[in-house]
């Protein structure tokens, strides 16, 4: 099933490893494919993410990162293949899958007219929080994402960095075992980026996290593993150190360019 990978890495190492992964994997994607008319946006993508892993999802714009994440979140119906979150198929058993998932969509969309407070209350109520649990759950994420200063502000009046944090707070609200974050650090300043990485690192041991990013240094900073996709296919699936070894320079952006330009050409 990894035969489409340009670099088999250690995934094909042995059946016993795979079996052990399967027991622990919170995210299981098998042969996920999305075609828009004759254009194939995502082409038989398969991977697993276990608890404790932070998977960096890399690729040029239009490579199929967001589409893959949307299929994993159950927002886009795949043409072929399956995705499971904590064992629940995102299509067949979508509510159970979504309960285990915290999802930050591309661009961190939120309702601009709502205040931060009203928005998080809405998400918390939909997530099933009520009574005294509701303010506790909200307080936890507000502290985590430092939103207390803008608590009563309409979201449309917030800076890009705050808006993204509101999106993140929404995703973290129910303390989900699986986090899928589409470009969580896009638009943040260097301090905020650092904060975000620290936050992700503290949560990492208890969760399976997938983040998409364009910033390769981020992969080194927080990811335990990276997948590079180009033109809808996985071209590499390895640890950051293994990836760096693919190019004589030992620099991730050289590896990235080498892998994705060859695929796109």
């Amino acid at each position: 099933m990894h035969n489409h990978c340009a670099i088999p890495a250690e995934a094909s190492g042995g059946g016993s490893d795979l079996a052990a992964d399967e027991a622990a994997a919170l995210i299981e994607i098998d042969g996920l494919t999305k075609r828009f008319g004759r254009f194939t946006a995502v082409d038989h993508v398969s991977f697993r993410v276990a608890r404790g892993e932070v998977l960096g999802f890399l690729g040029p714009n239009g490579a199929g990162k967001s589409t893959t994440m949307k299929m994993l979140a159950g927002f886009v119906t795949p043409t072929e293949g399956t995705a499971r979150i904590r064992g629940h198929d995102v299509q067949a058993n979508s509510l159970a899958a979504r309960r285990a998932l915290g999802f930050l969509p591309e661009g961190a969309p939120t309702y601009p007219d709502m205040t931060v407070a009203a928005f998080l209350r809405f998400v918390a109520t939909v997530r099933g929080y009520a009574g005294g649990e509701l303010p506790r759950a909200i307080e936890r994420v507000v502290t985590l994402t430092h939103l207390d200063r803008v608590w009563l502000q309409p979201i449309e009046t917030l800076s890009k960095g705050f808006k993204r944090r509101v999106g993140l707070a929404q995703a973290l609200l129910h303390d989900p075992p699986v986090l899928v974050l589409d470009e969580p650090t896009d638009g943040l300043d260097p301090n905020q980026k650092h904060e975000m990485r620290v936050l992700l690192a503290t949560m990492a041991p208890h969760k399976a996290i997938v983040i998409s990013t364009h910033i390769l240094e981020e992969v080194d900073a927080i990811c335990t593993r990276a997948i590079i996709i180009a033109a809808g296919r996985i071209v590499a699936d390895a640890t950051p150190a293994e990836l760096r070894a693919k190019h004589p320079s030992g620099r991730l952006d050289d590896v990235f360019r080498q892998l994705t330009e060859r695929e796109a050409a």
């Binding site: 979140a73 969509p105 939120t110 309702y111 709502m114 939909v126 997530r127 309409p154």
Partner: protein, 243 residues
């Protein structure tokens, strides 16, 4: 149910967080007032009833209801929040129903604010309150019917202007389906179709209500009509996920 109401409450609060609610209600009341008093001659008819008021309600709704529904889904698609909404643990039916209920509650609020008309005719004479109540129920059902059409069309596009124009056009077809111009033409061209169009006319069904008759058939018609379009709405939302 709780989830549906949570969605509805958020949606309804959204109307009042923007000038949408004020503009809609003011225009609705001004149009209704102008039409009832000027074209409907409420005072000079010398009858203490709201017949002129109810004559115009469906036409004012025809114009204004698509203005509410055009943003219902199209706005979520434009903002990208639809991705958030549909990846929360909410079923499609709950989302569709919640949005519809919010819009319907909003129309109910607008209708309630026409109470000065009721007070006016009560001061001038002694109208049949039952007839007026039936008229209001009918008006609410007409609003629901138009809302369900508009919501389904809004789900099909992210362009609000397209959603509005389509909404007015399709609602218009259901409004005038029993108009003699339509049925006369159809009874020559396709007699079987003429019978059907007479039965699906929203305005025709409403006429009984405005005369004070709440017929079971009419109620079932509206329930089926709204149910059908809400079902279409879920299908459209689903189809766009697979597109």
């Amino acid at each position: 149910m709780r989830t549906t109401l949570t969605v509805a409450r958020r949606e309804l609060a959204g109307y009042f967080a923007t000038p949408v609610a004020t503009v809609f209600i003011v225009i609705f009341l001004v149009l209704q007032g102008a039409l009832t008093f000027n074209l409907g001659n409420l005072f000079t008819r010398n009858q203490a009833d709201l017949a002129p008021f109810f004559t115009f309600v469906p036409w004012v709704f025809l114009l204004l209801v698509p203005a509410i529904t055009m943003r219902l889904w199209a706005e979520e698609r434009r903002l990208g929040t639809i991705e958030l909404l549909l990846t929360l643990p909410i079923t499609q039916t709950q989302a569709v129903l919640g949005k519809f209920l919010a819009a319907w509650a909003f129309c109910a609020i607008a209708l309630l604010l026409t109470f000065p008309f009721v007070i006016a005719v009560n001061l001038l004479g002694s109208p049949d309150i039952g007839v007026i109540a039936a008229g209001y129920i009918g008006a609410l059902l007409v609003a629901g019917a138009f809302l369900s059409v508009g919501a389904a069309l809004s789900a099909a596009t992210k362009n609000q202007v397209i959603a509005f124009v389509l909404g007015v056009a399709v609602c218009f077809v259901f409004a005038v389906a029993s108009n003699p111009i339509v049925t006369d033409f159809l009874s020559h061209a396709a007699p079987s179709l003429a019978e059907i169009t007479r039965r699906i006319s929203v305005i025709d069904r409403f006429q009984d209500f405005s005369r004070g008759i709440i017929g079971l058939r009419d109620v079932i018609f509206f329930a089926t009509f709204i149910g059908f379009w809400l079902f279409v709405n879920t299908l459209v939302v689903d189809a766009r996920k697979a597109a």
